[in-house]
C-alpha cells in the first residue's frame, strides 16, 4: 500500500466479501463489534497509530480479505 493519507485511514468492511466469520472481532475486539447476525461493525473514525497494528492483524486474519483501509481526506 502506498503512503498514508494526511487525514489517516479508516478501517472498512467490504460487505459483499464479508461472510460473517467473525475473526476480525476476535482479533481486534476494541475496533470491531458484531451485529446480531454476526456481521462486523467497525468504528467510523480514523485509526490511531496505536490501533493500526491491531487493525492490520484483523485485516490479514480475514479469510475473505473483506477488511480494507480507506484514506481519510
Amino acid at each position: 500500500m502506498s503512503g498514508r493519507a494526511a487525514g489517516g485511514e479508516r478501517l472498512r468492511v467490504d460487505p459483499a466479501r464479508c461472510d460473517g466469520v467473525g475473526q476480525c472481532a476476535r482479533l481486534a475486539p476494541d475496533l470491531v463489534s458484531l451485529d446480531r447476525w454476526g456481521y462486523p461493525r467497525v468504528a467510523e473514525r480514523p485509526l490511531t497509530e496505536a490501533e493500526r497494528p491491531v487493525a492490520e492483524r484483523a485485516a490479514k486474519g480475514c479469510p475473505f480479505t473483506a477488511l480494507w483501509f480507506q484514506p481519510v481526506r
Binding site: R12, V13, D14, P15, A16, R17, C18, D19, G20, D35, R36, W37, G38, Y39, R41, W68, Q70
Partner: protein, 464 residues
C-alpha cells in the same frame, strides 16, 4: 416568473374516425424531452396500458427538423454543461460536469454508458423517453463519447425492456443509414432485476463480472486501467439540448403513481408539487393525497401538507430535507394505509436483495417482518400488549440502525429510508395500529407493488 401549467399532462385525445385513435397532439417546444405525457401499466417497464396512446418514436428526420444536427463535441462541452447547471437525472442529482471531469482524467480505455435501466419498479420516465425520443438520448451519448474520447459506448437496458430496445435499435439503424457520427453503440440488455441499474453493477457487468452492486475501494480508476462513465438517459438527452444552446434544465420528468394509475409527465421546474399533482391527470378533481412517497420504494414518505407548496426543483426539496430522487411521486390517497403500504414495499425490497452481504440478507427481512407486525396491529392483543409494542418499535429501530450504510450497494439504505420515514410521517397511524386500532385500509398496499420474484442475485456460497 409566472408559473405555467404542467406541460404535456393532458389526457389523450378522443378516438378519431374509423375507430382509430387520433394521435395525441405532440409537443414541438425545443426544450421539452417528451412529445406527450404517457399513461403506463401500474409497474414494470414503460409500456402503456393503452397502445393507441403511444406515439411512434420520433424519426431521425423529425428530430433533425426540430433541433438540427448535434454539434461536434470538444473538451469545452463540460464547461457548457457546468454553466447550464446540468445535474444527473438518475436520482442522485450529481453535477454532470463533476463526473465528466473525473472521467476525463482516466488514462485507460473509457466506456460511456447511457443507463436506461430504471431500478425503481414505479419509475417509467426513462423508458418513456427512450420510446418517444431515442435520438435525443443517442445524441447525448455520442456527445459524451466524443468529448471524453471514449473507446466504447453502450446503451444499458433492463433485459425485459423490449420496447426500449426496439426503439433504440431502430433509431441506431436510422442514424447509420443517415451517416450520423456515432461511435459503434452497443445495446446491452442487462438482467431485469431491481439492482441492475446501479452504476457499480453496470460497470462490473461491462468489465465481465456479475451485474451486482459493489463497494468501490478507491475514488479514482487505477492509472491506465479501464474507466466507466454511467449517465442516466434523461441526463444525456439534456446534454444533447445543452450542447445546442437549448435550455437544458427547464423541465423535469416525473412519474406520478396512485394505487390505480401511473403517468409520466413533463413539468416546468419551479411549479409547486401540489399544482403538478392536481393537473397531472391521476386524481379526480379536488381530491388531495394525504402523503407522498418521493423517489419510489427506496425513497422517503412526506406528508402532503409538507410538500404541496414546494416547487419542483431538487434544491427546494433538499432545503426541506427531502429529495425528488429520480422523480417518482407516489400518492397515498385518503383512506389509504401508510404503514400497510410500507410493509408491503419493505417485503418486496427484502425479496429483491442481491444476497451479497449479511446486513442485507438478514437485516432486510427482519426490518420487513417488524414493519409488517407494526402494520398488522396485532401485537397489542393480550395483557402485555403495550410493552410488546414498545419493544417491537425499539427492535425495529435497532435493526434499521444495523442495516443503514452497511450494504454493498444503495438498495438496503433505500429500504431503511422508506421504513424510517414511514414511522415518522405515519406516527399517529402507527400508534393507533399498535394500540389495536388499525385504520380501515390496513391489510393491503395502496400503491402498486409487484410480487417479489425471490432473491435477485446469486445465493451466498456461489462463486463471487
Amino acid at each position: 416568473m409566472t408559473p405555467s401549467l404542467p406541460l404535456a399532462a393532458s389526457a389523450p385525445t378522443d378516438a378519431g374516425a374509423r375507430g382509430v385513435a387520433a394521435a395525441p397532439a405532440l409537443s414541438t417546444v425545443p426544450w421539452q424531452l417528451l412529445a406527450t405525457a404517457q399513461r403506463l401499466a401500474p409497474f414494470g417497464g414503460a409500456d402503456s396500458v393503452v397502445t393507441a396512446d403511444v406515439p411512434a418514436p420520433e424519426a431521425y428526420v423529425a428530430h433533425l427538423a426540430r433541433l438540427g444536427h448535434r454539434p461536434r463535441a470538444t473538451t469545452d462541452l463540460v464547461e457548457d454543461l457546468a454553466g447550464a447547471g446540468l445535474a444527473g437525472c438518475g436520482g442522485a442529482h450529481v453535477p454532470v460536469a463533476l463526473k465528466w471531469r473525473a472521467a476525463a482524467e482516466a488514462t485507460g480505455p473509457l466506456t460511456v454508458v447511457a443507463n436506461g435501466a430504471e431500478s425503481e419498479p414505479l419509475a417509467g420516465k426513462d423508458g418513456t423517453l427512450l420510446r418517444q425520443r431515442p435520438h435525443l438520448v443517442l445524441d447525448g451519448l455520442a456527445l459524451a463519447a466524443e468529448a471524453l474520447g471514449a473507446s466504447r459506448t453502450v446503451v444499458w437496458l433492463h433485459g425485459d425492456d423490449d420496447g426500449a430496445r426496439l426503439a433504440v435499435e431502430r433509431a441506431l439503424a436510422e442514424r447509420a443509414a443517415a451517416g450520423a457520427r456515432d461511435h459503434g453503440v452497443e445495446v446491452v440488455a442487462g438482467p431485469s432485476h431491481y439492482l441492475a441499474g446501479e452504476a457499480t453493477a453496470i460497470t462490473r457487468a461491462l468489465e465481465g463480472g456479475p451485474p451486482l452492486p459493489r463497494q468501490t475501494r478507491s475514488y479514482r480508476p487505477e492509472p491506465g486501467g479501464p474507466a466507466t462513465l454511467v449517465q442516466n438517459v434523461e441526463t444525456l438527452a439534456r446534454v444533447a439540448l445543452a450542447a445546442r444552446g437549448v435550455p437544458a434544465m427547464r423541465t423535469a420528468l416525473l412519474t406520478l403513481v396512485t394505487a390505480r394509475d401511473r403517468r409520466v409527465v413533463e413539468v416546468e421546474r419551479g411549479i409547486p408539487l401540489g399544482d403538478v399533482v392536481a393537473a397531472g391527470g391521476v386524481l379526480p378533481p379536488g381530491l388531495q393525497p394525504v402523503a407522498v412517497l418521493l423517489g419510489g420504494y427506496g425513497g422517503a414518505w412526506a406528508s402532503w401538507t409538507a410538500v404541496a407548496g414546494i416547487p419542483v426543483a431538487e434544491a427546494s426539496f433538499r432545503a426541506a430535507g427531502l429529495t425528488l430522487g429520480a422523480g417518482v411521486v407516489g400518492l397515498l390517497l385518503p383512506g389509504g394505509c401508510g404503514p400497510a403500504t410500507t410493509a408491503t414495499i419493505a417485503a418486496y425490497l427484502a425479496s429483491m436483495s442481491a444476497a451479497q452481504c449479511g446486513p442485507c440478507l438478514f437485516g432486510l427481512p427482519a426490518v420487513a417482518a417488524a414493519t409488517a407486525a407494526v402494520a398488522s396491529g396485532t401485537v397489542a392483543t393480550g395483557r402485555r400488549g403495550a410493552g410488546r409494542s414498545t419493544q417491537l418499535l425499539r427492535d425495529l429501530g435497532a435493526d434499521l440502525d444495523a442495516v443503514r450504510g452497511r450494504g454493498a450497494g444503495r438498495h438496503p439504505d433505500g429500504a431503511v429510508r422508506l421504513v424510517a420515514s414511514a414511522l415518522d410521517v405515519f406516527a399517529d397511524d402507527v400508534a393507533a395500529h399498535l394500540a389495536g386500532r388499525p385504520c380501515a385500509g390496513a391489510g393491503r398496499a395502496h400503491l402498486p407493488v409487484p410480487p417479489g420474484p425471490g432473491t435477485a442475485g446469486r445465493r451466498r456460497g456461489v462463486a463471487r
